[in-house]
């Protein structure tokens, strides 16, 4: 049932699953609070300590995980449509590393102290620069392999500069700040962090949604899409800016987290079909659900040190990427 009816079923279903996952993740933590306690804390009337734990600690964390995942899922779907390549992903293509580099630069030079929005904006600026560079270097004109190699080069370059920043880091506190960013985590997030990232999520998602007709036309390649009457310039700008803003927002709220942008659209395609316009919202919802689930799992695992979300995502996502790369048949025959 890979058609409109499919989407009409799966979108509400994915909203519902996201809701369930967020609720379950509110149940997990050092303080034992049952479902009744969680509901009481959420909707008032609960006792004070539980209420603060749920509202100030667990809810922002769960929502941050969901938001970061949704950003990456939507960005991945948009980039895959633009590059016409199921292996495109903000992490693989070097967009997330560039966003991390932006954030690291802001932290390193202590620019983050000027205003709370400097770091997220620096992340978004890094993501924009990387996406534009990638597009100029070869969207649609080069093979999958080369595109990914360009991304690998971009990632390595950003990684090298980040290493340089760590190498030259003046004090251990700055170093630990940097490392926390690079591992990727949503622990200790507040509603302020969410409030900062949410508008970027909304704006980025809106841009990609506006580009949907162009993405659909690009299924037949740039030449045909242009002849069909699609405004490719506009679609390109919207996707590049939208996916950069989304990636930047996810890096701003959760640090560097990879592979969600490739896995979520891949699953979305099996649910609602391959139409690149139709997978965007399901990809966002799936990305949110996947990262919420991952953040939930790392808190259940019996390790003394909590696993960082970015580490867990890579542990699950990297094999997922290999699976997609190995099984995807290229369609451009």
């Amino acid at each position: 049932m890979k058609n409109k009816a499919g989407q009409n079923f799966f979108v509400p279903a994915l909203f519902f699953i996201s809701g369930i996952l967020i609720f379950v993740s509110l149940l997990i933590g050092p303080a034992a609070i049952g479902p009744g306690g969680v509901l009481a804390a959420l909707f008032g009337g609960g006792d004070n300590a539980a209420s603060i734990i749920i509202r100030e600690i667990r809810l922002p964390r769960a929502l941050a995980a969901w938001l970061a995942g949704a950003c990456l899922g939507a960005a991945g779907a948009g980039l895959q449509g633009l590059f016409r390549n199921p292996l495109a992903d903000p992490g693989i293509l070097g967009v997330s590393p560039a966003a991390s580099l932006g954030a690291v630069t802001a932290i390193y030079f202590n620019l983050a102290a000027f205003a709370f929005w400097v770091t997220p904006l620096a992340a978004i600026a890094g993501a924009l620069a990387a996406t534009a560079a990638l597009y100029i270097l070869g969207a649609g004109r080069v093979s999958t392999a080369r595109l990914i190699l360009i991304g690998v080069g971009l990632s390595s370059f950003c990684g090298a500069i980040i290493s340089l920043a760590m190498n030259l880091s003046p004090n251990p506190f700055a170093l630990s700040d940097l490392i926390n960013w690079l591992f990727g985590t949503v622990a200790n997030r507040s509603f302020d962090d969410l409030a900062l990232a949410a508008p970027f999520f909304a704006a980025g998602l809106a841009m990609i949604i506006f580009a949907r007709p162009g993405l659909r036309a690009l299924t037949l390649g740039e030449e045909t899409a242009a002849s069909l009457g699609a405004n490719l310039k506009k679609a390109r700008m919207l996707i590049i800016a939208g996916s950069a803003v989304l990636t930047g927002a996810s890096v701003a709220i959760a640090g560097a987290i990879g592979f969600v942008g490739i896995i979520a659209p891949h699953i979305a395609r099996t649910l609602v079909g391959h139409d690149p316009a139709r997978i965007i919202i399901p990809s966002a919802l799936l990305g949110g659900a996947i990262l919420t689930a991952a953040d939930l799992i790392i808190r259940i695992l019996p390790f003394d040190q909590e696993l960082k979300l970015g580490v867990a995502a890579a542990l699950i996502g990297a094999p997922g990427f290999i699976w997609v790369a190995a099984t995807t048949r290229r369609m451009s025959a």
Partner: protein
Amino acid sequence: MTALLDLKDVSVSIDGRAIVRGASLAAAPGEFIGLIGPNGAGKSTLLRAAAGLIPIDCGARRLKGDRFEDIPFTERARRLAYLPQARPIFWSIPVRNIVALGRFAYGASDNLSDPAIDRAMAEAGVEGLAERPAAELSGGELARVHLARTLAAEAALILADEPITALDPAHQFSVMALLQQKAKQDCAIIAALHDLQLAEKYCTRLVIIDQGRIVADGPTTILNTKIARDVFSIKLQRETDSNAISLAPL
């Protein structure tokens, strides 16, 4: 009558190299024009320029009398449908969705119940494939699906770049017959072709291009021994009784 397409003295260069030099070509309803010429003669570039996909150095392009530059993208796509030589399908969407993209200029790229989609699929003979994903189609099926996508625009002018290349003989005949049929329904068709015998059999008019210049333009009889030798470097013989042509190396 106003020509559906009117190119006047069009020159196109790519990376500083002149590909099309001073080409003039007009197409009226009912014409099935075979654009023929050897590899690298400039057929595809001329068609791209005619479709408005690449800029021209000089000359004028008009669609139904209006200058190209004055026609918005979507209106252009309603007046002319273009079938490029390279026809990638990057995502395995169903045939109906591919054909629906032909309706893009009407803002209905995801309106799968647009009756024009069913009409185009029926004309191209792919109505039975409507729900099949692109990845499961054979070469011949794909060619007819692309044709259905092109027809779905219901544009009066169709530009097709090598529509029958890589098709088996039966599919070549059926595609040529379909284009001929569309011309009879008052469309104008310009198709870049390599098969001289099919071009001569189905087209109403031939335009011969060599090294970027249109060297001959007229009824199919202009394809004669001299043109075959000078332009295509082959030997052409016309049977006196059936008027059919046969080709051989020089």
